[in-house]
Symmetry: C2
Subunit: 352 residues, 2 copies
């Protein structure tokens, strides 16, 4: 199933639908859970990890048939396939490195991905397009309840769900939003906005994981606090803040349109021209150009394109996806060549 999906590189979260799609790429909920009486994965023996995998997979497979969940054992996968899954945000980098007794349960549209024996026994992740935190939370909660009905979680009356890393203790909930913020970046307001966010306890990151720099004007914001607030409070708080950031981004875009319409239109059209014609292109440059094209699309300058195509481009240009398509390992320079080729192919029928 995984291999089949890889042909299009599309997951449900990329389809460009959902509320506020002009700024919000996707919403993600992740729950960290551990089975009572078994050590956290870092300290568990092989047989203990095997037991974790087995108990969880039994529960999920039983419920999963009707939900289209499939269990995929990491050790059965080609390393490149694992990298591709990571690039699609379906599994974490950790699972691509140490896959011993690790597994993932994936739903058909890939909006649910449940990792087994990652940092915690269970990482239930729900990934939706646009600003849909509540719905993503409902989906994750649904699977969480199924497991909880069958297995006892490590839970402390006072501290809540116990997790491998103390930053997840309590709700075990990480809610995050991926935002496209070219307006705030071009008008040099991003740092101001981000520092305000961190002051109210939100974490800000680039596209691929913690500490990653902002590339392609894509920013992830998520809750840092997991303890002392209910799931609903955490989600409502992130939702409210996101709404404010969307408003600020839209104000910045309107400012650019009023003040510098021609230059902005020029910038986005040139980006499309370069993406359609370049013969070599680095990941960083492609990310920036895709952002410029997206901005042009959102501002109404560029037609013949849609958000799904732009989201899919973000994934297609990653190293493992490129190598998957090319059917062979590629050196850095060869990737730049293959990247340009795949981008040209994707944008072939887009013209102005």
């Amino acid at each position: 199933m995984v291999k089949n999906n890889i042909g299009s590189f599309l997951s449900h979260w990329m389809d460009g639908l959902g509320p506020y799609p002009e700024v919000v790429i996707s919403s993600r909920i992740r729950l960290a859970r551990n089975i009572k009486g078994l050590p956290f994965p870092y300290f568990a023996s092989d047989s203990q990890k095997q037991k974790v995998q087995q108990s969880i997979s039994e529960v999920l497979e039983n419920c999963g048939e009707s939900n289209g969940l499939s269990l995929i054992k990491m050790e059965d996968l080609d390393p490149l396939v694992k990298e591709v899954m990571m690039e699609k945000h379906l599994i974490s980098p950790l699972l691509t490195q140490d896959d011993h007794k690790c597994a993932v349960c994936l739903s058909k549209e890939e909006e649910t991905s449940i990792m087994i024996n990652e940092e915690d026994h269970l990482r239930i992740q729900s990934f939706l397009p646009g600003l849909q935190l509540e719905k993503a939370w409902e989906e994750a909660d649904y699977y969480d309840n199924i497991v909880e009905r069958n297995l006892e979680y490590s839970f402390h009356e006072r501290y809540g769900y116990l997790t491998s890393c103390p930053t997840n203790v309590g709700t075990g909930l990480r809610a995050s939003i991926m935002l496209h913020l070219p307006g705030l970046i071009i008008t040099k307001q991003l740092n101001q906005v981000l520092s305000a966010l961190s002051q109210i306890g939100l974490a800000v990151r680039g596209l691929y994981g913690e500490g990653a720099e902002v590339v392609g004007n894509l920013v992830q914001i998520s809750n840092q606090i997991t303890l002392g607030q209910s799931e609903e409070e955490i989600i409502q708080n992130l939702y409210n803040v996101t709404k404010q950031v969307i408003e600020q981004e839209n104000t910045a875009r309107q400012f650019l349109l009023n003040k510098n319409r021609e230059k902005i239109e020029d910038r986005s059209r040139r980006a499309l021209g370069v993406l359609k014609y370049a013969y070599l292109i680095s990941w960083q440059e492609a990310m920036q150009l895709i952002s410029d094209v997206r901005m042009g699309f959102e501002m109404g300058f560029i037609s013949g394109i849609d958000r799904r195509m732009l989201n899919e481009l973000l994934i297609i240009i990653r190293p493992a996806c490129l190598q998957m398509v090319a059917g062979q390992e590629l050196e850095v320079n060869e990737r730049d060549l293959e990247r340009a080729k795949q981008v040209r192919k994707k944008l072939k029928n887009v013209s102005m």
Copy 2:
């Protein structure tokens, strides 16, 4: 007739034919002549200039009917039309500024342009595509002989043809070649080549007249010496040097292809992408990008395009041509907009 031709902006010299078209855009011969017994234009009275115009135009009109020459009086032309003619290299900047009793005789395909009362009474110019100095010389010589049969030139036994500026005395001949030298420029060999050229008495200039900087990798080389050598010697000398420069340019291109094929292909394809999609574009940038596309075409990376289209682009992007097409005066920023629009239109059907 002039107005009709302006629609396409094409002159015969732009058609991309002729020998060595991969490096040589065009060849030009210009003869400076003055009528005996009348002061040079700078010192002539209106009635004297009128007399010059009348005598020359009578001779040319008589011979011209069979050759398709038309006399155009500068004072009859709209200032913008004069600018367009200058941008097409049919008349000099001087004729666009002070047009009193000035005129030009143009052949149908605009390969011959005879200016009356420019710096000298007569400037016979012949302009052909590719490396065709000898043929251009024959054409200019043909008209020169016609005039000389009917009017007596200012001629000194020892110094030859007398001219307004001493740098033209003798043969009154200026032979020049317009070359496209991206290979020598990218490999940073141009200055070396140019300084060698000036050491052997050749002048080097950019596209538009004396002292103009090199834009779009286009370089004009011409003889500086007009005295002490026969016309044939001057032309043969320039021809030989041009052949050497062509060889050096082709060697440089081959070096780039061997060493850096992918980067060069990338550069030329991106240039096409930007030209096809930009919404604003300055003259300097457009010139550079047209050069990059031309290089890509000559190296076989870009198809669906031809040299005529590239040469026509050089003219289309000039301010007066843009204003002619737009049908109104344009500010600098408006020209950047119109320039991008006209370039997009011209390249609309070019794809990879």
